[in-house]
């Protein structure tokens, strides 16, 4: 089968609509993953065993099971209990929840890496707990986390095609519908691959720059 440039160009506007949904899902999913991950991390650090143990199990369970099945779970089960979500919202919740379990690990490591002396010194100069977090712990803990968090956001971006399985009309689903309609798979499928490479290869270099800027190993 020969590559047909005319057909490839004809598919671009439709694929473009898919790209918009893909970007939407990635942005919303990242916001959710970054916020929820912090909540999970704090719950896991909790002194109360009744909070930290179940959280830890929940995180491990989500990390050990496929995102696709979790998406099905959200998409097919929530309507049964009376919660009607649009496919995109279900997808964003699925992506956000799945990657929150990864970002939680980043937050936890970042916070645990702050030397004990910093906490003790804060106490010694009589800072309150919010002051300690705001002025001492977070300013030191956040920069080393940035490359790792960015890494997971890029990973999430690459996983967005899974949303097509729950009927979200993102890039992959648009490509499939064009392919099925014209019975030509070569161009749309290849263009999807090219699109992801076009974004993720430059992002590797962007990540490396982030690492050089923030990671303690490079200093």
């Amino acid at each position: 089968m020969e590559w047909d440039w005319n057909f490839a160009i004809k598919t671009l506007p439709v694929l473009g609509e898919g790209v918009l949904v893909t970007i939407q899902a990635t942005v919303l999913g990242s916001v959710l993953a970054l916020a929820l991950g912090l909540v999970f991390a704090l719950m896991r650090r909790s002194q109360n065993k009744l909070v930290s143990r179940p959280t830890s199990f929940f995180l491990e369970f989500i990390r050990g099971t496929p995102l696709l099945v979790q998406l099905y779970f959200l998409f097919f089960i929530l309507p049964d209990v009376g919660i009607l979500l649009s496919p995109l919202v279900a997808g964003v919740i699925g992506l956000g929840l799945h990657y929150a379990t990864y970002t939680a690990e980043v937050y936890r490591a970042g916070i645990d890496n702050i030397p004990r002396g910093q906490w003790e010194a804060s106490k010694a100069v009589n800072l309150t707990a919010p002051q300690t977090w705001q002025h001492i712990i977070l300013p030191q803990a956040i920069p080393p986390m940035i490359p790792a968090l960015a890494n997971y956001i890029i990973a999430m971006f690459k996983e967005t095609p899974l949303l097509s399985a729950i009927t979200v009309l993102e890039l992959m689903n648009q490509a499939r519908s064009i392919s099925n309609f014209h019975y030509r798979y070569l161009e749309p499928m290849t263009l999807v691959g090219v699109f992801f490479l076009l974004i993720s290869i430059p992002s590797v270099y962007f990540l490396r720059r982030l690492e050089r800027k923030y990671s303690p190993h490079y200093k």
Binding site: P66, Q70, K158, R176, S179, Y185, G193, L197
Partner: protein, 218 residues
């Protein structure tokens, strides 16, 4: 109650396929990881560039995109692939690309003195790699390889979308036939989790076994 037994059997058949895909995918991934990881460090420019292209290409897109490409496009250009083969190839090549970076990192972390000592003992480059560097580096790679294997296990769910009857596919069949959503999905979530536990426990045991007599792990 009787009919649930039949459905459970369906899911177990799917679990078997999931396990097969995971094992074969991991074997291919391990092979690719070692080849590409070592090739990337080669002094011959052409080899290291080829390895870099492989790694960046497969890390740049997801298993899903690669699987669909392999399944729909390869037959069109005259390479017939069964869904199962497409699945193993996409999983193995994708995870192998991640593993290659792990291999490179681990090999580079081995103390230079080891290489120099092997050189002083007149070992050939192959012997140096095979008997001195890799046995030490492998222990460092293992924990990350374990995580990669779990990622591969999770990736197998995607093959259900190209009509392979794995665990996820069978749970959809059960859902369609019974109208029950919670039971089939919860069952396979638990099964996936148990498989992931088996992998992580197995890797930890292997790690303890292999690090005997080595001082690379603290």
């Amino acid at each position: 109650m009787q009919h649930w037994f039949g459905y459970l059997q369906l899911i177990f058949e799917g679990a078997l396929l999931t396990a097969q895909l995971t094992v074969l995918g991991c074997a291919l991934a391990l092979f690719m990881a070692i080849i590409a990881g070592l090739a990337r460090m080669s002094k011959v420019k052409a080899i290291s560039i080829a390895a870099t292209c492989y790694i960046e290409f497969f890390r740049g897109t997801s298993i899903f995109v690669q699987l669909f490409w392999a399944y729909f496009v390869l037959p069109l250009v005259g390479i017939p692939v069964s869904p199962f083969l497409a699945g193993v190839l996409a999983l193995g090549l994708n995870v192998g690309a991640y593993g290659a970076e792990v291999v490179r990192g681990a090999v580079q972390s081995i103390d230079k003195g080891q290489s120099e000592a092997a050189l002083a003992l007149n070992l050939t480059p192959y012997q140096r790699m095979r008997h001195v560097i890799l046995p030490q580096a492998f222990v460092i790679m293992l924990p990350t390889f374990g995580n990669n294997a779990i990622e591969l296990l999770k990736g197998t769910a995607v093959v259900s979308l190209i009509s392979l009857a794995d665990m996820t596919f069978q749970s959809q069949v059960v859902r369609a036939q019974t109208g029950s959503t919670a039971i089939p999905f919860l069952t396979i979530l638990i099964l996936y989790f148990m498989m992931a536990m088996v992998i992580s426990r197995g890797i930890r045991a292997l790690e303890r076994h292999l690090s005997d007599g080595l001082d690379v792990t603290k």
